[in-house]
Symmetry: none
Subunit: 188 residues, 4 copies
DNA sequence: TATGAATGAGGATTCATTCAT
DNA sequence: AATGAATGAATCCTCATTCAT
């Protein structure tokens, strides 16, 4: 029963953050959304903070899975690099619910120690994923800088997509990323 | 008296958000930090929401002023482009207080109509500032994309600087931006 | 306003403990009994614990005042000794409300650090009060033991009076104490 | 199975009161401490109140057994009187667990009808035990008073031992009691 | 006999706002 | 212009009890 309930509550948390806003995502609303009682939240999680951290970790895990899948789908190093960026915008990442929740957690990283730890592990993993791809594409001296730029660009694009999904749709994002990759990486 | 008190309270709001976190930036703490009574907040502002919106607007105004100054400082189009990026990282923008407050308001943009309006106007103004510079540098067809990329990159870099100011210091940011500008814009 | 409200709330706390029992003396009941809102409790006290500690301290202060008055009323050393015991049973100490509250705090001394500190200071003060009286009555070697016995006896009598005020009325208590004092102290 | 389980739960209740405090001795903690499920508590006892009453009764039975043993161990009436007092401080009575639990129940005697009944029966039994001993030692007129004093003294000493077991160790208690007995009873 | 999932009322506490002074 | 006392709804969390398995 436990994994089922935990999953239910995490889904409901994401839904509540999207529907009511992070500030208004109360235990009462979350549990009602999950069709469960308030008591259960504290039965299966160690308080609201724990529920929220587990929710963020779930989002992180899904994003990493999508990014890894994006990389795996590429056959050439260049495709793999584009796959890295596009993985951030996989369907699961672009749902309004996921975006709202991601954004909320993301921007609280500095205030919330738990969120901070999760985000740092996430960033470290992204760098690990980029390293072997860039090794085949750019000279060692520029590798670090380009990796950081790519991540910063993905962050920035994702943020703008989050706020303006119609203008910054997948095609625009892909074009911007492709431009950067072509201009910076390809010539190397 | 009014402009003085309003200024005091806006400063105190930014300080409280930095010191206590957005969630804990209560009217009581803000007014104590300003050395004023709680009653004054509602006297000079139309409730807490109004105070917060005015605070965000103040931050936006300051950022725009810094970006415009950055542009104005450049003599060549390329310098002006770099000035646009660097304006986002002017001293006033990099203070821990400003960063905390900025981040908090970003978080609320999607949930808070008032914050959303302020941010949209901010974005529109950034595009207006970029347009004439890019007109001298890149072919019309790529202008829009490159403008959006630059803004996305500035967002992303700013965000990463916010979370990791030591690793992403001004030099690193300048180098990343310069790389992008050189690679993408200069050849055109 | 502050001293008035604090007094009101402390009185209401004593009343609520008597009327509803310590376990049921909730903030809601206490504030309703005081005719004030729940918010005020946390406005004037630092939470429920603080209110309870201040209440216990108030009881201690009153008891010490009564004991000191009892001692002061005696002209001979023996009378002063009896006054020490009888002070514990001054009218203010025997009100059902005071008894209920005293008992509750008293028996939680071991579980509650705050109550413990107050009680230790109380005990120390009682010994200070007894010392000069016994100095005139008993040989130095037995002074410490008799002081402790007297305090233990007062504790025990008070406890039994608390649980069975009709059987252990003031006359019985006075007789028991007088017996002890006569038998042990007088012959010396 | 029933007597085993009931015994387990009563032991766990005493342990939980000592370890977590009376207020925090919840069904969940008690059952976990007993290594049993929460459901079992309500299966073998008629709710939490019943479990607690049975626990207090168990403590009373043990104390009475210790006091009776103390009396039985004495050969002279005076020894039997001292045995009465010392029985209250038999090893089982001085364990930290027993002291915590005893104190907690005392606290509730006034508020909880069930606890009150148990305590009254306990007191009555103590008087019954004292009566025949005192009959051999003191004139009828003072018998009642001295019995009550002895019980009050035992209560008071026990309470002080509970709060300060190092200072009020067994030797000190024995000395105080012996002093009283010698001074008051022996001359008779 | 035994489990533990589930409930929801009740607890303390926080806080934006109002308003008499 | 300025204060801060007062309110009470809203929040998170706890817990005894029930009940299907």
């Amino acid at each position: 029963m436990e994994p089922v309930r935990r999953r239910q509550l995490i889904e409901a948390t994401i839904g509540a953050i999207h529907h009511d806003g992070f500030q208004n995502a109360t235990i009462a609303r979350i549990s009602k959304r999950a069709g469960l009682s308030v008591g259960l939240v504290n039965h299966y999680f160690d308080g609201k903070s724990d529920l929220f951290e587990e929710t963020m970790q779930t989002l992180v895990d899904q994003t990493l899975a999508d990014v890894e899948a994006g990389i795996a789908a590429g056959t050439t190093p260049l495709d793999r690099l584009m796959g890295f960026v596009e993985g951030h915008f996989a369907p699961g990442q672009r749902s309004p619910e996921a975006i709202s929740a991601w954004l909320s957690f993301y921007l609280q990283v500095g205030e919330n120690a738990g969120f901070g730890r999760i985000q740092q592990a996430f960033d470290a993993r992204l760098l690990e994923l980029l390293a072997p791809i860039l090794a085949d594409l750019v000279p060692a001296a520029r590798r670090e800088g380009i990796a950081q730029t790519l991540i910063a660009l993905a962050y920035g694009l994702w943020l703008r997509h989050a706020y303006d999904p119609w203008h910054f749709d997948l095609d625009v994002i892909r074009a911007i990323a492709r431009d950067y990759v072509d201009d910076v990486v390809a010539p190397a």
